[in-house]
Amino acid sequence: QLSLLRFTVKRSFSTSHSSVDSKEIKKFQLLAHKWWDEEGEYAALHSMNDIRVPFIRDTLLSMSSNYHLGNPLSGIKILDVGCGGGLLSEPLGRLGASVTGIDPVEDNIRTADRHKSFDPVLAKRIQYKSSSLEEIVEESMETFDVIVASEVVEHVADLETFIKCCSQVLKPEGSLFITTINKTQLSYVLGIVVAEKVMGIVPEGTHEWEKFVPPEELERLLESNGFSVKSVNGMLYNPLWGSWSWVESTSLNYALHALKSGAPAQAHATDTLPETDVHQRSATAGTA
């Protein structure tokens, strides 16, 4: 507790090159204690675990050749950016990964810390830090095997900086998983008007349509910053059953998996070589 306090007092958020938006912080502060109410404001995020956890798990399993089904993510270091109350960090931790969860809202980290403290296994596997992504870059260069940024990039002030930082803390050939909302007319009508104002699936004011990111733009930014996008899948929330499913269309929500290129921080010229390497590896993993 003490170290957290010291940490936040020393650092101050720089507004010019930061990916953190201070308005967003205020929004989430208000609901910091509601994270773990499975039927409350964050119900949709809880049920999103039913598809995003298998997505992450199965993608990582398909890329690796030796794993144990009883502990599928054992030995994998994951960074959960914008972890909130730890909704996604905990299942990943239960599957065996060592998870570091960061979130700029201190109250969220407090909630996450308290929730994990009751489970002795999780308490050791997950570490939470109140911090923005930039702040941990220096001490975490090429540290993580996987970065997960779920429902985060639509809240970020400077997306390109965010992606660059992801690249810096990720090991070569590491995985980046992003889930976010597309910027379309449909996402305005359903994602903001219906979800927030009419049905209250999402607390009002959570999202701003202007900051939604179309998958094409996300892919462009990723590819020009040393990533190669491996898959993009549409997601759909059914408010009647409170459950998510995979769909063809990415016009509302979507999930994306990208790999950081193998060569350390080089220009595009070497992109093709690592890419074929990765394809070959995943092909052999499939037949192994």
Binding site: D37, S47, N49, D50, R57, G70, R94, G96, D119
Partner: protein, 409 residues
């Protein structure tokens, strides 16, 4: 669950009030508590490696089941077309021993506390912001305390877990008791048929144990049950034989009506009437093997709550007339294990209501209709009133002639 790969690093504690039961070979005499195990239940036991142990101890497969009425000639016969086993009669002790062996095999994951009893439960408080542990606390009689993310109540129809969790149940005591005994047949036979006759006082069933022995389950009024237990062995055997063979409850009216219906069916569907076989006659009963226990029906309104799940008799209790009680329990287990395994592979908190509710919905849908049907059958066959007897006579004969309905049953 201990054998499930996704539970590799989980810890399971099993609280058992009785002593450890493990046999390397069975005693010569049969135990009087047996169960009719359906093929589905056998598959479940086989999936955790216990069925092999059962087979190596002892069991009796049966191929045919004949059920008939004491008040008429109506009868229904169940058998599988390919002469496969319809089910198995297994002593409860055999199953316990087989399971004990398999529990030993996963001892690093499953810890069994024999002769232990829980005396108190502390439930997690619903409010999310509290500082007390969100897990279930269990206090044992010897003072030890355990805490768990999921408490499974498999503690029978008087379930303390259910009561402490304040889950209501609909209960009804039948004014019947079941008398059980181990019987020796007059002569050795193939003995691969299960027999059940509906008497007005209740059904009497003979379940095969071996070529020369069968197990008795006779549901009857409390008074009659006490009489049966009190009478000497010879009178007891006579009562059993007469229950199966006597036609005292037949009335001419019903017999004629039944015969008419039967001829009608044989015109429409020549294969629809089966040949009635005669049950074996009983020569003697194993001394000390007679026992009785009261019967009732029950169903919990909810099978699950946050961090709690009920299975088996703790969730539902049926009349033994259909031989389904333990099979419903095995079905619950297969379903719950499936959902928990999937939840574990998704990294979910095992006590989370989301997947527990899926288990509840699936099982309630299946169990409620069977429990209701069993209750209706029990009531229907408890009377000698002519109209109802006629109804059930025709109903039984019709059902016997209709393969789709029979297969469903």
């Amino acid at each position: 669950l201990g054998h499930d790969i996704h539970f590799h690093d989980k810890k399971i504690a099993l609280l058992e009030a009785g002593p450890r039961k493990e046999y390397d070979h069975m005693p010569d005499s049969y135990s009087n508590r047996v169960s009719s195990i359906s093929p589905g239940s056998a598959t479940l036991l086989s999936s955790c490696g216990a069925w092999d142990h059962v087979c190596s101890l002892r069991l009796k497969p049966f191929r045919r089941m004949q059920v008939w009425d004491a008040c008429s000639e109506a009868m229904i016969v169940f058998e599988k077309d390919d002469l496969d086993d319809m089910g198995y009669i297994v002593e409860n002790d055999v199953i316990m021993s087989a399971l004990t062996k398999q529990l030993d095999a996963v001892a690093e994951r499953v810890e069994v506390f024999y002769r232990s009893k829980a005396v108190g439960y502390t439930w997690p408080l619903p409010s999310r912001g509290c500082d007390t542990s969100p897990w279930v606390q269990v206090e044992l009689a010897d003072g030890r305390r355990l805490q768990t993310k999921l408490l499974i109540g498999a503690d029978g129809h008087n379930s303390m877990v259910r009561k402490e969790a304040e889950i209501k149940s609909i209960e009804h005591q039948y004014d019947q008791s079941a008398v059980v005994a181990t019987l020796h047949l007059s002569e050795a036979t193939d003995n691969n048929v299960a027999w059940q006759r509906f008497l007005p006082t209740g059904p009497i069933a003979l379940l095969p144990l071996s070529d020369t022995a069968s197990s008795l389950v006779w549901s009857t009024s409390h008074d009659h049950a006490s009489e049966l237990l009190a009478m000497d062995e010879e009178s007891f055997v006579d009562s059993i034989n007469s229950a199966f063979w006597s036609n005292i409850n037949h009335s001419d009216f019903i017999d004629t009506a039944g015969a008419m219906f039967r001829s009608a069916i044989s015109l429409l569907k020549p294969s629809g009437t089966a040949v009635r076989q005669l049950p074996p006659s009983v020569a003697k009963v194993d001394p000390e093997s007679r026992a009785m226990f009261p019967l009732g029906m029950g169903h919990a309104t909810e099978y699950v709550q946050h961090r709690v799940a009920l299975i088996g008799d703790a969730a539902h209790r049926v009349h033994p007339l259909a031989g389904q009680g333990v099979n419903l329990g095995f079905g619950d287990i297969a379903c719950l294990a499936h959902h928990l395994s999937a939840a574990a592979f998704n990294g979910s908190d095992l006590g989370s209501l989301k997947h527990l509710l899926k288990f509840e919905t699936e099982r309630q849908r299946h169990n409620v209709s069977l429990i209701a049907a069993t209750d209706v059958l029990k009531r229907l066959y408890s009377t000698t009133l002519a109209p109802l007897v006629l109804l059930r006579t025709w109903g039984l004969q019709a059902t016997n002639a209709l393969p789709p309905v029979k297969v469903r049953i």
